[in-house]
């Protein structure tokens, strides 16, 4: 699927069916791939890399364009079961156009970062910045989910919340890898600035990107370390909650067994004093209740 857009007057706007200087290909089909590799001379391997979530971010200089593969957070859906994944995206910068290759249809050019775009190279940098911002936003979501799961674990006896935390831990490893990979790409963008055609303002923006990306990496690293280091404690809490339940059930079982013992003794088919006494039924019942009360008293006295 292709979306035509136009960068003009500092803004990117949809261009209907008319070819603009920004073209977005979402999961290109066979004919679109043929056009990209034959007409636009995109390297087939680089094109596949743009759609491969496991590919590392990188920068390649081709005779007619610059190919940039960067990492971005994949949009989370409720079927992902708390696994936040990373996807790749490809930017192919020509002197007169920018071709964007994505594996899924996601909203591009979100937020204020795209309010004033000076040029196509500037748009490239803003897309990388948008990806860093997206990572930061997802880290906040992961932190909020982690807090929420912790609250649930405090009273839980099930493994599902622990498994969700493991999923979050795994997500953070993916994110760390993706953010680190983007960091290397930004450094290479800075080194190749003259070849790409970045202006002095663009270079200043790249410096900002390096700082933003490194802060994002540190944040992900801190969250990952906290999750990993607290995991054992959380496993113990769930185990302890289960132990409390078993202990309470055991005490209840004992409390029921004692009146059963009292009643059983008096149910034996032998003679015992006062068997025919009119109050004997109430005496036996009283002894049974007394035995339950004694368990309760011992329970309180021992602080079980």
């Amino acid at each position: 699927m292709i979306q035509h857009m136009e960068l003009a007057g500092g803004k990117v706007t949809r261009n209907g069916d008319m070819a603009g200087n920004v073209r977005v290909y979402v999961n290109p089909d066979e004919s679109e791939r043929r056009y990209l590799t034959e007409a636009l001379k995109l390297d087939e391997h680089t094109l596949v890399s743009a759609l491969d979530p496991d590919e590392l971010a990188r920068l390649e200089f081709e005779p007619e364009h610059v190919a940039i593969i960067f990492k971005r957070p994949k949009n989370y859906s409720s079927e992902d079961k708390f696994v936040f994944k990373v996807a790749s995206a490809g930017l192919f910068l020509f002197p007169d156009k920018l071709v964007i290759i994505l594996s899924e249809d996601v909203p591009l050019f979100q937020g204020k970062h795209f309010a004033r775009v000076a040029s196509l190279p500037d748009l490239v940098l803003r897309m990388v910045y948008s990806s860093i911002f997206h990572f930061v936003e997802h880290l906040k979501v992961i932190n909020a989910i982690s807090d929420s799961l912790e609250e649930q674990i405090n009273t839980s006896m099930q493994n599902k919340y622990l498994l969700n935390l493991f999923s979050l831990e795994k997500s953070l490893v993916y994110y760390l890898n993706g953010i680190n990979s983007n960091g290397k790409l930004i450094e290479r963008l800075k080194l190749g600035a003259a070849k790409i055609g970045f202006t002095a303002e663009n270079l200043e923006f790249i410096d900002d990107l390096i700082i933003e990306n490194s802060q994002c990496y540190e944040q992900a690293e801190i969250y990952s370390n906290i999750l990993a280091s607290m995991m054992d404690a959380r496993v113990s809490i769930v185990s302890n909650n289960l132990n409390w339940l078993i202990k309470t059930l055991t005490i209840i079982t004992i409390a029921i067994m004692l009146p059963t013992l009292v009643v059983s003794i008096f149910s034996m088919n032998v003679e015992f004093p006062g068997r025919t006494h009119p109050w004997m039924f109430w005496v036996i019942l009283g002894l049974a209740v007394l035995s339950v009360a004694s368990v309760r008293l011992v329970w309180r006295w021992k602080g079980w």
Binding site: V12, N75, S77, F84, L108, G111, E137, V141, I145, Q152
Partner: protein, 94 residues
């Protein structure tokens, strides 16, 4: 303060639907108020103050949601949420 209840219908107009970031925006908004808010999407219902529940709704683009609030500032929280939905959770794009 008297307890009040109110309800409002909203539509998800953000193209990717109610994914991670919109869910966090909803939870953060609800926590600024004292009223309890519930979101109903089809036959699913979630506490709007709990991110785990909001994310599990998985409401797609175009889904019609019913927001119901109960508490002293029920109308205010629903106004804020309706504005959040109208602004596409601050994630407006092309």
């Amino acid at each position: 303060m008297p307890r009040r209840s109110a309800a409002r219908r909203v539509v998800v107009t953000h193209p990717p639907g109610l994914h991670a970031r919109p869910s966090l925006a909803i939870v953060k908004t609800v926590r600024q108020f004292r009223s309890k808010v519930r979101i109903r999407s089809g036959d699913q219902e979630a506490d709007a103050g709990k991110i785990l529940e909001v994310m599990s709704l998985g409401a797609p683009y175009g889904a019609e949601l019913t927001l119901s609030a109960e508490g002293p500032d029920a109308e205010s929280v629903l106004d804020a949420l309706a504005q959040l939905f109208a602004d596409n959770f601050g994630l407006s794009s092309l």
